[in-house]
Symmetry: C2
Subunit: 329 residues, 2 copies
DNA sequence: CTGAAAGCGCTAACAT
DNA sequence: ATGTTAGCGCTTTCAG
């Protein structure tokens, strides 16, 4: 008894508009190579509005062979304020092309990405970084195109982030760097990659490799790490992200160490609060909105068979220089 | 030439297992009232694994009449670290019941929620707070069940949050409260509701209504607001959320005001960084994981026709008392 | 216990 | 320019 008002179908619309189902389909998809007189068109659209008709996705995909649904896989760790704007841009750009975006939090216990993909019958699955080979092939077997913000065989953006942090610090005159690793198990992989970037920059500048320390998100632990770095004559540290950086700054305050005089600190992400840390945090961040738009283009390209190439230039992270690293030494 | 390896279908599996398509369907859905001999069962499952077969969602939904897809609508403003754990729990609990979760960022320009719902043919659409009437009915017309963390006609949880902030402060002895409104246009509605809760608590305690001030996320603006509250003999302020609260704390530092001695501050959300503000922030927050699990139960209830009642008790936010409000006056 | 057959709502040839 | 028809891949009566 809950929902006997059966949902409207093409047939209903066709009847209401006095045309055949196929005509309805033609106007709704403005199928190329069909010239529908404006008058008929309007009649159909009126009927659609009247009945508040919405094509049933499953039927449409089944018949058409593709769903026009884009599934975005977000690593459950990198959800922050930034990702929101990214998704917004992405969704909007896709919508303009008639594509519907839904997202899936990866890495959770539930159904695997390929399962979700099959369940909603996604036409393309997008992600920030490439999936592992097994997932990728399962996805492809499930009939989806794959698109990423970072090209599969190309530059590791994650690593690049660390490199930029280090380069900024080195340019400021620092000769011995530290790296603040997050405690979280799941973050280690990304963190390791970023640390690698820092190490690259150090070695290129002829410096010792960075001194990486595990840092729990606790004030005492942060203070301890800060003292340790000082003892080892580290003068600047790259933090895994802004959260770690801000926590470190708090730990330093606790240990009566000043930034950047005693230790310069640099974050990643440019979260709103990085402006309010004491001192304001220097950080490196992507223009996520731009990335979102470009990813959408890549999706459209992949759907139309064009090579899904992103211009790497647009994906360059940007350095935001603030007080936590201001001092030149 | 991109994807001629046509996707496996039930027919393929049936052939490989030497049974009929319907039998395959029976074992895959362990259809009630069908007794399949274990031997056949295994043969089918083996074929499934061999072909890496995944039922095509669209075909399945079309035939079965329901998709078993749950669409979660997240307001694009309230994406934070907390929501992640919430979604994780929600997705996991749903998965146990054979339901697939995908999420949609609401409030963005793209396709409307009902459109997305129709596109993926969701069986149920879930949200934190109830949708407006128009959206709700469109959704229902599209054949979806609706489920929220907060019951439609029941207690406004958002308001409750503000009330709890205020009650904590009042219990600490504060007699004149301030409220820090976020500048963001889109946040105003929620903020207004939370402010309402603060006002409720004040009036019940026989106090003047709270002094609400707009607060831009800028150090100078925050400092100005803090001074203004002092001038008006406000001794404690409820912030819209932790971000605003931490920013305010920074503004106070800038204005050489101490918390909680000069002004006590209370946030909402319990973000990780609230532990690292100076002083550590008191805050009120939900146990989002619990909320996620309960929402999943509600979904399952709604799908099985049971009344989708949540026990409101489980949805009570919790006060986290830290140094920013510690002083009793 | 298993198979045959109908049909879910829509699109896309193919007719007209 | 519009209507007719045949499926898309799956579930689900209904027979055997």
């Amino acid at each position: 008894m809950t929902r006997p008002p059966k949902r409207a179908t093409v047939a209903d619309v066709a009847r209401a508009a006095g045309v055949s189902p196929s005509t309805v389909s033609f106007v709704l998809n403005d199928t190329p190579g069909q010239s529908i007189p404006e008058e008929t068109r309007q009649r159909v659209l009126a009927a659609v509005r009247l009945l508040d008709y919405r094509p049933r996705g499953s039927a449409r995909s089944l018949a058409a062979g593709r769903s026009n649904i884009v599934l975005l896989s977000i690593p459950h760790l990198s959800i922050g304020p930034g990702i929101t704007r990214f998704v917004e841009q992405f969704a909007t750009a896709l919508a303009d092309a008639g594509l519907t975006l839904v997202t899936h939090l990866a890495g959770t216990p539930g159904p695997s990405l390929p399962d979700v993909c099959a369940a909603i019958d996604a036409s393309v699955v997008a992600g920030l970084d490439p999936f592992d080979e097994e997932t990728s092939s399962a996805l492809r077997r499930a009939g989806a195109d794959l698109v990423f913000t970072t090209e599969v065989e190309a530059q590791p953006t994650i690593r690049r982030t660390g490199r930029l942090q280090a380069e900024h610090l080195i340019a400021l005159g620092h000769r011995r760097l530290g790296y603040a690793m997050p405690e979280n198990r799941q973050l280690r992989k990304i963190a390791g990659e970023r640390l690698g970037g820092v190490a690259d920059a150090c070695s290129e500048a002829g410096l010792e490799p960075p001194l990486a320390l595990d840092t729990k998100l606790e004030i005492a632990a942060m203070a301890r790490a800060a003292r340790r770095w000082r003892r080892e004559s580290v003068t600047a540290v790259c933090a895994y992200n802004d959260e770690v950086a801000i926590a470190l700054l708090a730990g330093m305050r606790h240990a009566r160490l000043a930034a950047p005089a005693d230790l310069a600190v640099m974050g990643v992400d440019n979260v709103p609060l990085s402006l309010f840390s004491d001192p304001p945090l220097s950080t490196v961040a992507f223009d996520l909105e731009k990335v979102g738009r470009h990813l959408a283009e890549a999706v459209m390209g992949s759907l139309s068979g064009r090579a899904p190439r992103l211009s790497p230039a647009s994906l360059e992270p940007e350095i935001i220089h603030r007080a936590s690293t201001s001092l030149t030494r």
